[in-house]
């Protein structure tokens, strides 16, 4: 990491600091974030857990936030039953604040709606999660969501649309989510682009699940294939909290997602299922750390990645079991599919165990389409291209089939399957 780049980062921060909204993040905290980031330097591919990410874009990035765009982008059809909030370049553009007994949703920027939500304490930044500091320094808005226990489970859709080209500055989507004891939330989070904008996005998502809370979280990264998309998720789970995260990522030119989950209370559980589809020059990298800090905590990680063309798809899944986490149960199933002679797949399970009495199983494979399956489909008259697409589709089903919202699952199936849309209609006919 060159000092010149860090100097430029400081300069850019210095130039815009007074214009950054205090209501989103206080000035002191922003400065701390910049200092902490500069002390560590920006990530480089020389670091083990960053080596598969495409970080070249950071070297020529303009870090200061782009101006919020006027007008509205084209939006996908709404999901029935979901309350929608739209953020353009990280700034709330559509969606009325919600404030009632069970649920509060508001923009961080609009200070007018009562006291600002308390800023979650900073988790000592892992080297892998340090781009969250960049977000903290520059964020111009964000969603603050607080859920209390209520009979009905709220359903929220957050749409983040990247509009500005990277030369005009970066966008910093930000979500602070807190689910109180026994409460539950279904969250759909989609990242899109306006047209084929070549944007730079660096998002940060904080999740705090109190005792017995539950979050069903669906993340779709569908930005344009010219976008550089960085993202850090930091989640802390208290006793018996459950976090289900399903992420589907077919978008971006260069994407890197870091997910750090802290299982801090006994009996807490996380199930993470991720699918990534890269084609052409795409580089899609995911790093997930499940940190088991308390007894009887559970992790399940499933990854299915397909690399076609000259794409590189990587998943690095680490399970760390601390001394205090007896009775941990973790399972990993990581599989990559190479669908092009110049494509690259890197799947890597890592285990770090500091206590006894744990059950940790993992499987990781990377391979090509199964020749026997392919021949079977051809022998039934299917076009080679259709047969290949069908097998790729089948490969992703392990993740997609876990989407419990039929409308969302169908939409994703349609978008992923292209010509195979009759699949969904036929399934319905059978019910």
């Amino acid at each position: 990491m060159s000092n010149a780049l860090l100097a430029r980062l400081r300069d850019e921060y210095g130039a815009v600091r007074d214009a950054l909204p205090d209501s989103v993040i206080g000035g002191e905290r922003r400065l701390e974030a910049i200092e902490a980031l500069c002390a560590q330097g920006l990530p480089t591919t020389r670091e083990e857990n960053w080596r598969y990410a495409n970080l070249r874009v950071l070297e020529r990035a303009r870090f200061s936030p782009c101006a919020s765009p006027a007008g509205m982008a084209d939006l996908p059809a709404p999901l029935a039953g979901f309350t929608r909030f739209v953020f353009l370049d990280g700034v709330l553009a559509m969606g009325e604040p919600v404030q009632h007994a069970g649920l509060g949703v508001r923009s961080l920027r609009s200070g007018a709606q009562g006291p600002a939500p308390s800023m979650p304490q900073r988790i000592p930044a892992l080297p892998e999660a340090r781009l969250a500091l960049l977000n903290e320094a520059f964020a111009t808005d964000g969603a603050a969501i607080r859920v209390k226990r209520e009979a009905a489970v709220p359903q929220i859709e957050l749409l983040f649309i990247a509009c500005a080209p990277a030369q005009a500055g970066a966008s910093y989507p930000r979500v602070q989510l807190s689910i109180e004891a026994g409460a539950r939330l279904t969250l759909v989070e989609r990242h899109l682009s306006a047209g084929d904008a070549a944007s730079l996005v660096n998002g940060a998502l904080r999740v705090d699940l109190a005792e017995g809370a539950r979050l069903d979280h669906y993340r779709l990264q569908q930005t344009s294939t010219r976008t550089a998309w960085f993202d850090t998720v930091e989640a802390t789970l208290a006793q018996d909290a459950r976090y289900s995260l399903i992420a589907v990522s077919p978008g971006a030119l260069a994407a890197r997602s870091t997910v750090h989950i802290r299982l801090a209370g006994p009996g807490a559980e996380v199930a993470l299922s991720a699918a990534a589809l890269g084609d052409r020059q795409q580089s899609l990298d995911t790093y997930v750390l499940s940190e088991h800090l308390a007894p009887r905590t559970r992790t399940e990680q499933i990854f299915r990645g397909i690399a076609s063309g000259r794409a590189r798809v990587a998943f690095n899944g680490k399970i760390a079991v601390r001394e205090s986490a007896r009775g941990t149960d973790s399972r990993q199933s990581l599989r990559g599919l190479l669908a092009g002679p110049e494509a690259e797949i890197d799947v890597r399970p890592q285990l770090e165990i500091y206590t006894d009495e744990v059950r940790c199983s993992h499987g990781a494979t990377a391979g090509k389409l199964d020749e026997n399956m392919l021949f079977y489909l051809l022998s039934r008259g299917l076009e080679p291209e259709v047969a290949q697409r069908l097998l790729k589709w089948a490969f992703l089903e392990d993740v997609v089939s876990r989407i419990e919202l039929p409308a969302l699952r169908r939409r994703i199936e349609h978008e992923l399957a292209g010509q195979m849309s009759e699949l969904a209609s036929l399934k319905e006919l059978l019910r």
């Binding site: 489909l377 022998s379 080679p384 490969f395 036929l426």
Partner: protein
């Protein structure tokens, strides 16, 4: 329907079929029997176009066309069907989706519109009843978690739905108990028709009690060494293959 002339096939440098000649006229059922390693499955796979087999000599004509010049999917669309000895499991690809895609591929090839979804399901359900298959198997992955017998039934179900001109069934009887064998044989028999030919590849005579062949051929060391009517199968059951292996040497 099918004419194989002096076919030579090599797998990984080893010659497996050494001048095989066989003709199956339309409307007939032929059984190909033979000891392990005689080349029966190789023949079935070569006919379906599986990669990995090198044709070093001979010709195969299917309905007047040079079969060996066609890619596997085109052979299927022209009406050729292979019932696999070991049907592969394809989790995530729905059975009914594959059936429909296969039917539509053949229809498109013949210039017909896609099959109507309701009519199609009605047809599939009817064939499933014939094969004594649970309807829930339709929405499962292709052969996923199926028992050996269920996989074989599923092969025959596909055949019944696709209605091929020529079906080659590679040891469709292996691994079946007697009740399942009857169901499978019954399914196959419903497909017998004057314009359709069947080739049954099998080790044992038992299947031929239920699907009575017009001709029986014995394949030994890559060649047909003996042909006859259905009584040849009974003779093989009694005498084994040794007397023919001697002749082939």
């Amino acid at each position: 329907m099918l004419k194989i002339d002096n076919l030579h096939v090599t797998v990984e440098g080893k010659e497996i079929l050494k001048g095989l000649t066989l003709e199956v006229p339309a409307g007939e059922v032929h059984a190909i029997m033979g000891p392990n390693g005689s080349g029966k499955s190789t023949l079935a796979h070569v006919l379906a176009g599986r990669p990995g087999y090198e044709i070093t000599g001979g010709t195969v004509t299917f309905q007047g066309r040079d079969l060996l010049s066609l890619p596997p999917e085109e052979r299927a669309r022209e009406g050729m069907f292979l019932g696999f000895q070991y049907p592969v499991e394809i989790p995530g690809v729905n059975n009914v989706y594959l059936l429909k895609a296969a039917v539509n591929a053949a229809r498109k090839h013949r210039g017909l519109p896609e099959v109507d979804a309701f009519e199609f399901l009605t047809l599939v359900r009817e064939k499933m009843r014939l094969m004594r298959m649970e309807e829930s198997m339709l929405s499962r992955g292709v052969n996923e978690g199926f028992s050996g017998g269920e996989k074989k039934r599923n092969e025959v179900l596909q055949m019944l739905v696709l209605e091929p001109c020529l079906a080659v069934l590679d040891e469709t009887d292996s691994g079946l108990d007697i009740d399942a064998l009857k169901v499978v044989a019954n399914g196959v028999n419903t497909l017998r028709a004057p314009q359709r030919s069947l080739v049954l590849v099998t080790h044992y005579q038992r299947l031929l009690d239920y699907i009575v062949p017009d001709r029986v051929h014995v394949l030994v060391k890559g060649r047909i060494v003996q042909s006859g009517d259905k009584t040849l199968a009974l003779e093989l059951e009694r005498r084994g293959y040794d007397w023919l292996i001697g002749e082939a040497a």
